[in-house]
């Protein structure tokens, strides 16, 4: 029997994976993947809890997150392509124009 706890454990593991990816990756594209993992970890948790409580709000939220993630990726990828065309690389360490 798969209980809510199982789902939450999976979500936590996914979140941890995403977090490590966000911290460690130097390639912008990989960073995007890591963020997607983070978002979907939350989605899994939301859907599971929503199912457990028999309340649709959580699943609705998950849908919204998917939609927003999609649009975000669309914008992000666009910028990423422009960046790649200029530099031929996607190394984060070279992206320090906001140095304070």
């Amino acid at each position: 029997m798969i209980t809510l706890t199982h789902y939450l454990v999976v979500a936590t593991i996914m979140f941890a994976v995403g977090l490590v990816g966000v911290m460690r990756r130097k390639n912008l594209l990989m960073l995007f993947f890591a963020t997607e993992i983070l978002l979907n970890a939350v989605n899994v948790a939301l859907a599971a809890i929503s199912n457990a409580y028999q309340d649709l709000t959580g699943q609705m939220f998950a849908f919204f997150i998917i939609a927003i993630a999609a649009s975000e990726v669309a914008v992000g990828l666009g910028l990423l392509i422009v960046w790649y065309k200029r530099k031929n690389r996607l190394d984060l360490d070279e992206l320090t124009t906001m140095n304070g």
């Binding site: 966000v22 911290m23 984060l92 360490d93 992206l95 320090t96 124009t97 140095n99 304070g100």
Partner: protein, 633 residues
């Protein structure tokens, strides 16, 4: 009638605001004329209101709008025109209209011409609020308003060090007294639950004697400041630094009488506490002779008149303190007329003498300035209390009041003061206008008479100073509808008293005329101790300087050097330095590298998570410990 009330009240405000528009501009004659016209409108409205009150006896009472309404506290902007306030309004608007017209001439060469009219009208507005308000809060607003305008006008020539000093002195001394008054008002509200006059006065007789006594004393402390009674008196003489029309309007006719007005207005309170009343009367008598003695030797024309004002205020307080409120109000009114006249006359002389105020440097000005001289002599005769001028009727009544209550010491003091008053008034007249030598020629001054219209503007005051006394019976009859009547027990000796007092006044005049007929008297007298004591104002300003001002300055220096610089400033600077240092240290964090930023973000999330979990862990630990404890037991 309400419309006249509003016109009388707000015309000065309109005048002040419109003059203020041109405050920084060079002189515009129209500003002065416009202000005078508005003040005249206010005066006409006041006359209409007065006639209405006399004829119908109806009190006009309006509530313009709510001011404070919170819980049980309800204070409206309410105004009342009854017998007392109508009289005050008449005095205030009349004198101020004349002073406005006079100032057009007096200030004609002053850079601050427009500003002067703005302040002067603002003063009149504050004074109207003071006398017309139907509650203590409104009175207090007016009270502070006139204080502010007095400060502005004493320090009108702010480039003069002495003027700004005098302005601050007046303001600070009045603040001390105002604290007393404010406490009195609080005490009234605390015990009565309202500060509307009618409510308070209706409840006055039901209050405990102690509380009533404190209310009386505290309100009188306020009156002492505004009316410059001992020991808060030195500011009035120093206030003469202001332009002379200001001295005439504020420091003779209106503002300084506000204290007397307060005692008259609060008569239901003071009627319950005759002991406080007796104290007021005694202080008044003391101030009367004390100030008159200082006026005897002074060598500054305006200061002599200022001490005279102090002395006359003392007279008013004697009458008010002994319960003869209408007599006090009557003397207030007549005094306003002749004292304003005297001051305006002094202004003419001052102008003629190019701001020289020492009467020893004048002498034989009569041939040059006949008009001014006659007006000033009329005012001085009225001040001295010679029949049939106004001062005779009002001052004589005060002496009668003192005699009637069998307060022979007070009577004696006032009687002597009457002689001194006559003496110093005529000493001034003789020194300035008569004598043998034209001393001003030694100082290269060419005096000239003031403008014709200035003399015409002063003449109504002269007429009133002559005839006002004959309205005594009308005045008593109408004012006693509001004020308690006073029973004189002196009918058997009335004529004797009048003769004795008149002889004293006439004697004072005669001595002055004889002594000073040739100008300055021998200078040996100036070496005596008495002379030095009087010219130094009994060393009271000196004493204040040593006892209060210097220690306060020392204390301030200590606080500045030790506490402000070393503790307060150090703390504030320390906080600022911490922020700077933190900023310098942490700016490395902002390397612009997204990867580093993200790591910081994750670290932040971790901190927040831990912060969320700490209370949970803490509660869990306490639970465990509790179960452990219960198990041990």
């Amino acid at each position: 009638m309400e419309i006249f009330l509003y016109i009388a009240l707000f015309a000065p405000l309109v005048s002040s605001l419109s003059a203020a528009l041109f405050g920084a501009k060079p002189k515009i004659l129209a500003v002065g004329i416009w202000a005078s016209a508005l003040l005249f409108t206010s005066f006409v409205s006041a006359v209409i209101l007065l006639i209405n009150v006399i004829q119908t006896g109806n009190v006009v009472h309006v509530e313009m709008m709510q001011w404070i309404s919170a819980g049980d506290l309800y204070i409206p902007f309410g105004f009342v025109v009854d017998q007392v306030s109508a009289t005050m309004m008449l005095v205030v608007t009349l004198v101020s209209t004349i002073v406005h017209v006079y100032s057009i001439g007096y200030m004609e060469n002053d850079k601050g011409f427009n500003r002067f009219f703005s302040y002067l009208s603002a003063f009149v507005f504050s004074m109207m609020v003071l006398v017309m308000s139907d509650n203590f809060a409104g009175l207090f607003i007016g009270w502070e308003g006139v204080g502010l305008c007095s400060w502005l006008l004493i320090g009108f020539w702010y480039h003069k060090e002495s003027a700004t000093w005098a302005a601050n002195e007046a303001f600070i001394m009045n603040r001390i007294a105002d604290l007393g008054m404010l406490l009195g008002i609080f005490l009234i509200y605390w015990n009565v639950g309202s500060i509307q006059y009618d409510v308070v006065f209706a409840a006055a007789s039901g209050l405990e004697a102690d509380i009533l006594m404190w209310i009386g004393i505290l309100l009188f402390i306020g009156a002492m400041g505004k009316s410059a009674q001992f020991p808060l008196h030195p500011w009035l003489a120093d206030a003469m630094e202001g332009p002379t029309p200001v001295s005439a309007l504020i420091h003779a006719a209106t503002m300084v009488t506000a204290g007397v007005y307060l005692v008259i207005r609060a008569n239901p309170i003071y009627a319950e506490i005759p002991d406080v009343g007796y104290f007021i009367a005694s202080l008044g008598a003391f101030v009367a002779i004390f100030a008159a003695s200082m006026a005897l030797v002074n060598r500054d024309m305006k200061r002599i008149i200022a001490y005279s004002t102090l002395s006359q205020l003392g007279y008013m307080f004697v009458a008010a303190g002994l319960g003869a409120y209408w007599v006090a109000l009557f003397h207030l009114m007549t005094h306003a007329f002749f004292k304003a006249l005297l001051f305006l006359g002094a202004g003419n002389v001052m102008h003629a003498m190019h701001d020289e105020l020492d009467p020893y440097k004048m002498g034989r000005l009569y041939p040059v300035m006949k008009g001014t001289a006659i007006l000033m002599i009329v005012a001085s005769v009225a001040l001295a209390g010679i029949y049939p001028l106004a001062g005779f009727f009002s001052k004589d009544k005060i002496l009668e009041v003192a005699f009637s209550g069998e307060h022979y010491i007070l009577w004696g003091t006032l009687w002597v003061t009457a002689g001194l008053t006559a003496f110093y008034s005529f000493r001034l007249i003789m020194l300035a206008f008569f004598g043998e030598k034209e001393n001003y020629k030694d100082h290269g001054i060419h005096p000239h008479e003031a403008h014709k219209y200035m003399l015409y503007a002063m003449s109504p005051l002269a007429v009133l100073a002559v005839i006002a006394g004959f309205f005594e019976h009308t005045f008593v009859h109408y004012v006693n509808k509001l004020l308690p009547s006073f029973e004189f027990h002196t009918h058997h000796v009335e004529m004797i008293l009048i003769i004795v007092t008149s002889l004293m006044a006439a004697g004072g005049i005669a001595v002055a005329v004889l002594l000073y007929r040739k100008g300055r008297i021998s200078e040996k007298w100036e070496q005596t101790f008495v002379y030095k004591m009087l010219i130094n104002q009994y060393w009271i300003p000196h004493f204040y300087d040593v006892a209060f001002i210097k220690p306060y300055r020392e204390l301030s220096t200590i606080f500045w050097k030790k506490i402000d610089l070393k503790i307060v400033d150090a703390t504030v600077d320390g906080i600022a330095r911490t922020f700077y240092a933190t900023g310098e240290k942490t700016r490395n964090m902002q390397s612009g590298n997204l990867s580093v930023n993200l790591r910081w973000m994750v670290a932040g999330v971790m901190v927040l998570l831990i912060a969320v979990f700490i209370p949970t862990v803490w509660n869990w630990a306490i639970d465990v410990y509790m179960t452990y404890l219960s198990k041990v037991k």
